[in-house]
């Protein structure tokens, strides 16, 4: 029965994604509806995950669809830390449509059911959990980078409605994106460390190479940022790193 909780979660995330678009016209009811959609959806998804965890024999999110389910929960949870503040609401415009689509994919792929996961074990659970948390953090950082590029462009072009649409200040987006990248890197490094204990010769595949490349790109970003590479260039590099996460990694993962 608890697997049906995916429906209210999906509806709430979808409602939030649409309502955030309404927030573009100016602050008001749409923004508040969106925030409540995120909150209620996240509560419903939390209940779903608890249901999955209690009914499963092993780690319930070991499949790609299950991992996607957990990933969405982590992304939305991380977003909620800032997203409830009115000034940061529009970050939801970058995050919630992705969350809704990914949760729908997880549902279609069977990742929201109560069946036990396949291969289980505490080490795998830690490995997958940390990797997903790391990617969730990088997703959030990409959302902030996208918002940075958009807002920077509006400010450069002196666009109409600059003050009407509440977007987080540029330097806040820059700083929070860097913090999210740092958190993501630490989580990924820990996840890789946890996975390395199960590593055997012959396990090495393209996905691992891409993961290392992702680590390298983001580490480079942080080093360059320290040297003064802030603002637009840092945001674009951040988005390039996320392209690896969002496109290349899934492709290589399924191919290998």
């Amino acid at each position: 029965m608890s697997e049906l909780l995916v429906v209210p979660a999906l509806l709430a995330y979808g409602e939030a994604a649409f309502a955030y678009a309404g927030e573009l016209r100016g602050p008001g009811l749409a923004g508040r509806l969106a925030t409540w959609g995120v909150r209620l959806g996240w509560v419903a998804q939390t209940a779903l995950l608890v249901g999955q965890a209690t009914s499963a024999d092993g780690f319930p999110w070991g499949t790609w669809a299950g991992a996607l389910n957990l990933f969405v929960w982590l992304v939305v949870g991380a977003y909620l830390i800032w997203g409830c503040k009115p000034r940061y609401r529009l970050l939801g415009l970058a995050v919630m449509p992705i969350a809704a689509v990914l949760l729908a994919l997880a549902w279609v792929g069977g990742g929201t059911g109560l069946e036990a996961g396949g291969d289980s074990g505490i080490v795998l659970a830690i490995h997958v959990g940390l990797m997903l948390a790391g990617f969730a953090s990088l997703t959030l950082a990409a959302g902030m980078a996208a918002l940075y590029v958009w807002q920077e462009r509006r400010l450069k072009r002196h666009e109409r409605g600059l003050l009407r649409v509440r977007v987080p200040p540029l330097d806040a987006l820059d700083r929070l994106a860097a913090r999210s990248v740092l958190a993501g890197l630490v989580l990924l490094a820990l996840g890789i460390g946890a996975g390395a204990s199960r590593f055997e010769r012959g396990d090495f595949d393209v996905a691992m190479v891409v993961t290392i490349a992702i680590l390298a790109v983001y580490a480079t970003l942080l080093v360059l940022r320290h040297e003064g590479w802030r603002g637009r260039r840092a945001a674009l590099l951040n988005l390039a790193g996320f392209a690896l996460v969002a496109v290349v990694l899934p492709i290589t993962h399924f191919a290998s």
Partner: protein, 412 residues
């Protein structure tokens, strides 16, 4: 109780006339005290208004007070005075408190001025209720609409743009180029939001020093800008120079030392002080006076559209006040009716008292009290509803006639 408002405002009276009736806070307070209980005097640069709540018609008193204040022998004041009563006066005050009657819709200062006038005045229960409602709706309009969120002037627009770039202006360094009025106004806007003025640069060093002292900043000549450009977060330029005084190359050279920190440049000068191509540099955001005026024009139209929403809130609040005011007509009748039935109940209980035990007496008291409360509940509600629909006096007369309320007083 009748509410009377007589006033002069920027809508009809020129400044020459308004300044003759303008009062400082102390004089407003003493005038309210002179006018007696239930009097509040609201005086700002845009209006002077007297609010009086009396049983008799207070309009004459208010008009003669303002005429005396203006020393108006030519009758000039009479043509611009407005006189409003009861519901119209209440609605006017609510609109004033909400900033809807201001020159700039939604300006924030008026709410504080209404509060000060209320606190300095001599409000009785009637004006206390009216002004508390006015302050409530003033706050509500600012919270529930975006009417007061956008800047209403070029200097305020510059400061608001700074908050689009920087999360917090606390600790941000501002460099002022030019020591004119526009520089100062923009600087004050930025300082009020937490920024600090680091330096004032001007062709005439003495003028720079005058302004720098007031902000606790450093004064320098226009030739010493290079170092300051590297450390500033915001540059405000408004010199009377006939050519560009900061080039793209100047900013690019300083930008390297900034380690990627953004730089907001506000050019209020005509001709412009800052090379427009500075905006092409990464992390630099340059706005000239036309850009800022466009921001203000757009936000002003936004304010006007928010004003329509604010009018709805104010209208609903005025309806609530009207219902409360109308209910005052029937309150004495309701009180008399309740007093009558309580009197009858007490006398009947006293007569039966000797035949009842203590326990029985308590039970009878409780039961009769409940019966009377239920019996009077609906007539009370209906009378208040009738009062709100303007039939209150008719209903009150009927009830007084049917129950003989006040007949004994009249006979006495």
């Amino acid at each position: 109780m009748r509410l009377t408002l007589v006033g002069v405002s920027h809508h009809r009276a020129p400044i020459e006339l308004r300044e003759r009736v303008a009062l400082d806070p102390e004089r407003s307070a003493s005038l309210a005290a002179e006018l007696g209980r239930e009097a509040v005097v609201l005086s700002t640069c845009n209006r002077t208004e007297l609010y009086l709540a009396r049983e008799d018609d207070a309009e004459g008193v208010a008009v003669s007070t303002l005429t005396a204040l203006a020393d108006d022998r030519s009758g000039e004041l009479g043509s611009v005075l407005y006189r409003l009563g009861d519901d119209a006066a209440a609605l006017h005050l609510f609109r004033v408190a909400a900033g809807l009657d201001s020159l700039v819709p939604g300006e924030g200062e008026i709410l504080g001025q209404v509060r000060s006038a209320f606190e300095a005045g001599s409000p009785g229960p009637f004006l206390d209720r009216l002004f508390r409602q006015a302050l409530h709706i003033g706050r509500r309009v600012r919270v529930e609409t975006a009417i007061a969120e956008s800047p209403a002037s070029v200097p305020a627009a510059g400061a608001a743009l700074a908050q689009q770039v920087f999360e917090n202006l606390e600790g941000k360094r501002v460099l002022l180029l030019g020591a004119g009025k526009m520089s100062e106004l923009t600087a004050r806007n930025l300082v009020s939001r937490g920024a600090g003025i680091a330096a004032v640069a001007n062709r005439t060093l003495e003028h720079a020093q005058d302004l720098a002292v007031s902000f606790g900043a450093r004064a320098l000549g226009l030739d010493d800008l290079a170092g300051e450009l590297g450390s500033a977060d915001i540059v405000v330029a408004s010199t009377s120079s006939q050519g560009t005084i900061v080039s793209k190359a100047d900013v690019a050279a300083a930008h390297k030392a900034r380690k990627g920190r953004p730089l907001l440049l506000v050019d209020l000068a005509v001709p412009r002080d800052l090379d427009p191509s500075i905006n092409e540099l990464d992390g630099c955001f340059l706005y000239d006076v036309d850009d800022l005026e466009a921001v203000v024009a757009e936000t002003m139209s936004g304010r006007r559209s928010e004003a329509a929403r604010a009018e709805q809130l104010v209208g609903a609040e005025a309806d609530r006040f009207r219902e409360w005011h109308a209910a005052l007509d029937v309150v004495p009748t309701i009180a008399s009716l309740r007093a009558l039935v309580e009197e009858i109940r007490d006398s009947e209980l006293a007569r039966a008292g000797s035949r009842l035990s203590e326990n029985e007496r308590r039970n009878v008291e409780s039961v009769t009290s409940q019966i009377l409360a239920k019996l009077l509940h609906l007539p009370t509600i209906r009378m208040k509803e009738a009062a709100a629909a303007a039939d209150g006096v008719v209903y009150a007369d009927v009830v007084r006639h049917l129950f003989g309320l006040g007949e004994e007083e009249r006979r006495a």
